[in-house]
Amino acid sequence: MSAVIEVRDLVKKYGDIEAVRGIDLDVEQGEVFGFLGPNGAGKTTTISILCTLLRPTAGTARVAGIDVADDPAAVRSRIGLVFQDPSLDDQLTARENLELHGRIYGVPGALRRQRIAELLRVVELSDRAASLVKTFSGGMKRRLEIARGVLHHPQILFLDEPTLGLDPQTRKHIWDYLEQLRRREGVTLFMTTHYMDEAEFCDRIAIIDRGKIVALGTPAELKSRIGGDLITLTVADVPAAAKEIAERFGIAPLAANGTLRIEVPDGASFLPRLVRDLPMRIDSVALSRPSLDDVFLKLTGHAIRTEGASEKDMLRNMGRMWRGGRR
């Protein structure tokens, strides 16, 4: 196994703002690699550099063995991309979109037609091949983009938030298609997400926050960083309860969103003691295995921010309205 993506000390600045502040990572051939972090953490910037859409300010990135700064065209021919926003031509049919892609990437005619038929079958769009893309639902568009992304047999498929804005059932389906494609084609998947549950599908995850990787490992490894079980407590007076717990049990709880989180090796035996000994009223209590959300919270001290739309998100929504209105 060799690394298909090698990133060393990557930095990207926009004026004075450092969007990416020194990232190192290696991704192996055939791996599903997840890039996890809140909006604005530098995920899209990093992926854009790897796809040669942006130039790094400092550091190096090699994709498929080629430096992205040296030969962007060679890198581009070896990768596939699925963007956050659909980049399909919705005035054209599904087949025409794939046909265009195949031509642009120089897939020879007979092979192109065979590939298109095959991939339309995989993403279950064969019966809609001749429909205009503007009649497709969000999930169908994403499926078509995924099929397009692997049409030219890329070594790596980059997916930027592949399931953003899709309902949970459709998200699950997208994952099934991706898994199927990985098995069939042996393609490396490099994806960004801020859905924690999705990151669990990945072989390895890098957690990125404010332009830096704060943790890297398998989902199990990352979760083991939280010692044992997690107890989430809702109380009226969070600071007082935190002080009380620290004094009585010698554990420092983490306060977040009006709740207290306590990590303990054996939650089942600790929970009765906690409820009995804590002098204040407890509104609710939950015992859980740690999720990646918890890991993120522990490593960064804040929850993944999903609220607060960025300027680009607003523009995107405006665009959806505008485009919707034109139909």
Binding site: C51, T52, L53, L54, R55, P72, A73, A74, R76, S77, I79, L81, F83, D85, P86, S87, L88, D89, Q91, L92, E96, L100, H101, R103, I104, Y105, G106, V107, P108, L111, R115, L132, R148, H152, H153, R184, E185, G186, L315, R316, G319
Partner: protein, 289 residues
């Protein structure tokens, strides 16, 4: 059924870099634009409404207030105002289609198909050239469609005139499309579009001689009209379109330093302008952030 590895090798040994070199890539970008245009035939029909408004309402209204005759020496064999603006309205259609078409790039770049092209293993200059030619083709068709109105304004077309017009309308469409692509390629937000509309497209239209002759104007305005590249594209269209039907149009012909320009010279000026703009667009597309 071949294996994935075999197919991968087939593609690798094929055109890894692009679909048939620079020209192949230009063709693909152009083909997509033309295919889209063909799909959107409803838009083609609707887009005839504005030129018709100009021609019928604006033209008739202004002609009435000008009092039948138009220009300094209007007579029985003169030229009506509607005849005068007919080529102008055709050019307006070309201008608006070319600029609007190019501006779609700005949107496309952020959220649309342009991103697919920008990450493709093709030379970026192919995108600029393909978009320019695609926009020019659409703008040309939009302009030429209006030739069906010729009989209603007393203009007669023979095949040779038609051929000349196709060339001249394409030249204008190319120049304006290249300008639009050059502008759009440097733009990162749609806010700039309003600026282009107000401070470039409308002045260009008004100063181009589409609506009034560019003779006997105040000095400052004469200078501005001669700086407007569209002036050099519209004038030959008018001279060929109206002149061939015996409508006296020569006294309105565009002059530069008091000399009437030959039609090939005017066309060459527009082509040169278009090539400079295309050069800017190519450079702009090749730059990465």
């Amino acid at each position: 059924m071949t294996t994935a590895a075999q197919r991968s090798t087939t593609i690798a040994s094929g055109a890894r870099r692009s679909g048939g070199g620079l020209w192949g890539a230009i063709y693909i970008v152009w083909w997509r634009d033309v295919l889209r245009y063909w799909r959107d035939r409803a838009r083609v029909g609707a887009s005839l409404a504005q030129p018709l408004l100009y021609l019928v309402i604006f033209g008739t209204g202004l002609a009435s207030s000008l009092g039948g005759g138009f220009g300094a020496s209007a007579g029985a064999t003169g030229i009506s105002y509607i005849q005068f603006i007919y080529p102008g309205v055709i050019s307006m259609s070309v201008l608006f289609t070319a600029i609007f078409g190019a501006m779609s790039i700005v949107w496309d770049r952020e959220f649309g198909f342009m991103r697919e092209l920008l990450v493709a293993p093709i030379d970026r200059s192919a995108i600029a050239i393909g978009k320019t030619l695609g926009g020019a083709t659409q703008a040309m068709i939009q302009g030429l469609i209006l030739l069906v109105l010729a009989p209603f304004v007393g203009v007669y077309l023979d095949p040779l005139v038609l051929l000349e017009l196709v060339v001249l309308v394409f030249v204008l469409a190319f120049g304006l499309s290249a300008m639009g692509v050059a502008l759009a390629s440097g733009m990162r937000s749609m806010q700039g579009f309003q600026m282009v509309m107000n401070f470039l497209m409308m002045p260009m239209f008004f100063l181009s001689g589409a609506l009034f002759p560019l003779v006997g104007l105040p000095g400052w305005m004469t200078v501005l009209t001669r700086l407007d590249p569209a002036s050099y594209g519209i004038d030959p269209i008018r001279r060929v379109l109206l002149g061939s039907s015996g409508i006296p149009v020569d006294r309105f012909a565009l002059t530069l330093f008091d000399r009437t320009l030959a039609i090939p010279v005017e066309a060459a000026i527009v082509i040169a302008f278009g090539l400079v703009m295309l050069g800017i667009a190519v450079r702009s597309f090749q730059r990465r952030d």
